[in-house]
């Protein structure tokens, strides 16, 4: 409850601050529109050559794409600013003030900077997803759509946990841009249907590096139904990833050297 009230302050601050950068606001809308067009365009070109990929037809792929675009927009709005700043907070020793406050430091550094200027993108991607579902010729029950939405949110959570875990390498490696970038590279796996991956790689992508759970598994549940085993699997992976993050975070703080001013 208290953390929710704190979050309202973060929201207020970020809205009043983002008014300062008008251009950025429009540029972001512009950039993300291009990003959405490129992703949809890519699958459009691809499906002009084949009827199905990994068992999905074009209409299904569009919903999948809309799913990961929405996930990206949520991440951009809620987490991205914080994630960008995190390595430099660690390297420049600016974590100090957060550490002395009687509030979870992890909470603080993860959520304090809400990207108000990406808010429109959030609306746009919700629109794209709604459009993708509306144009889908098959039958999609409200229950499966609800399951899809919940799984997508779980995907957002996993995305955040995985991302920040990579970033925390900054506690040990002072120039860790490469390790941090690695997350974005691994994330590319999540932007293709997970059915195309074979063998142990698929196992890895649904467990250790659960990027398939971001958007592909939710879409899979939407088309093929969500069974108990899958639901339990998602919950288990989410809890496991969270425990790992908490562990890495506490080890990281031990190694934190707080660059002397």
């Amino acid at each position: 409850m208290r953390y929710l009230r704190l979050y309202l302050y973060f929201l207020r601050f970020s809205f009043s601050r983002s008014m300062e950068f008008r251009f950025d606001f429009f540029f972001r809308i512009f950039m993300d529109s291009v990003y959405y067009a490129v992703n949809l365009g890519f699958y459009g070109v691809l499906f002009s050559k084949v009827p199905t990929i990994g068992g999905w037809n074009f209409d299904q792929a569009v919903i999948f794409v809309a799913g990961y675009l929405l996930l990206d927009a949520i991440d951009m709005t809620v987490f991205s600013n914080n994630m960008w700043q995190l390595p430099s907070l660690i390297n420049r020793g600016d974590l100090d003030y957060y550490l002395v406050r009687p509030v979870s430091t992890l909470y603080f550094v993860s959520l304090r900077d809400f990207a108000a200027n990406s808010f429109v993108n959030l609306l746009m991607t919700i629109g794209i997803l709604a459009w993708a579902i509306a144009r889908y010729p098959g039958e999609l029950g409200p229950a499966s759509i609800a399951a899809f939405a919940v799984l997508l949110l779980a995907g957002c959570f996993l995305h955040y946990v995985l991302h920040i875990t990579f970033l925390l390498s900054a506690f040990w490696l002072h120039a860790a841009a490469g390790v941090q970038q690695l997350f974005y590279v691994i994330r590319e796996f999540s932007e293709r249907p997970h059915q195309i991956y074979k063998g142990w790689l698929r196992q890895v992508l649904v467990t250790v590096l659960p990027v398939a759970l971001f958007a592909s598994i939710p879409a899979h549940a939407l088309f093929d139904g969500l069974d108990l085993a899958l639901a339990l699997h998602v919950v288990a992976v989410a809890i496991g990833a969270w425990l790992l993050l908490v562990f890495v975070w506490s080890r990281g703080l031990r190694a934190y050297v707080s660059a002397s001013s």
Binding site: F23, M31, A175, L182, V185, I186, Q195
Partner: protein, 270 residues
């Protein structure tokens, strides 16, 4: 700018780069492996689904090779992705320092940019042959001195073009605060329209005809296909000529905007 100064800027910049030890190897190998794995599985699924030996003029083997080269050559074309320092210089005011140097800003920055290319070139030199060894060259692909020469020319022009495009975009920073999103946008657009995400021959005919007149194919499509011998000499030459024209155009635009911008530059922060 004298060649000696150019070299000095270049080597200083290279040294800065080398200090990132872990980074260097991780970026090099892991990024490459992942960026190949995704298209590999994707295209395996596509070829299975299509049930044909070739899609858009490539066999699966050639397709995988295409992506390997597009990633490796593309890195050399783009240089490091730290293409934001010009706009940073402008709105943080550090441009003032450069304006005092008796050397042109653009060549100075381009020297730094070329230095940041070194790791990408090293990766190409190390990973390129390694890939050829691992996955083998299909019989249909003939890499000759001629194709290597054409590819090098395409990479050089592509590098200059990409740099000029991003330079021009970044000069918007004279008027707007935060322009990183424009740079990202350009990169995203180029990845689809230049042939990094998917070979341009997958596009419908009309789209290919239009794309041929844009600056994008020179970034990925031309270098890779020139090297693989997939495009004829005439096609490659026409593409390079178009790209050169774009270079001239962007150079002119950059200079014009630059002059306008510096006139009203206030040198914030210094």
């Amino acid at each position: 700018m004298t060649p000696r100064l150019f070299w000095l800027v270049y080597s200083t910049e290279t040294r800065k780069l080398m200090t990132y030890r872990v980074d260097f190897w991780i970026t090099a190998v892991l990024n490459f492996v992942v960026s190949i794995t995704v298209p590999y599985f994707l295209w395996t699924a596509v070829f299975e689904s299509a049930g044909m030996a070739t899609v858009a003029g490539y066999t699966l083997h050639e397709m995988v090779l295409y992506y390997c080269l597009a990633v490796l050559l593309g890195r050399v074309v783009r240089g490091s992705d730290q293409l934001r320092d010009i706009s940073t210089d402008i709105y943080e005011g550090s441009l003032s320092r450069y304006l005092l140097y008796p050397a042109g800003y653009l060549p100075f920055k381009y020297a730094q940019h070329l230095a940041n290319l070194l790791p990408s070139v090293l990766q190409l030199a190390l990973l390129g042959p390694a890939i050829a060894g691992v996955i083998g060259l299909p019989a249909s692909v003939a890499i000759s001195w001629g194709s290597i020469f054409l590819a090098l020319a395409a990479v050089a022009i592509g590098n200059a073009l990409y740099y000029l495009m991003s330079f021009t975009l970044q000069t918007v920073a004279f008027w707007a605060d935060n322009i990183w999103s424009l740079i990202v946008m350009m990169r995203i657009a180029a990845s689809l329209l230049g042939g990094l995400l998917i070979p341009l021959s997958c596009f419908p005919e009309w789209a290919q005809a239009v794309l041929a007149w844009t600056p994008f194919p020179c970034l990925y499509h031309l270098p890779v296909n020139a090297l693989l011998g997939k495009s004829t000499f005439a096609q490659a030459a026409a593409g390079l000529a178009t790209s050169l024209a774009w270079c001239v155009l962007f150079f002119g635009a950059a200079r014009l905007i630059w002059r306008r911008g510096t006139l009203q530059y206030t040198g914030v922060g210094i």
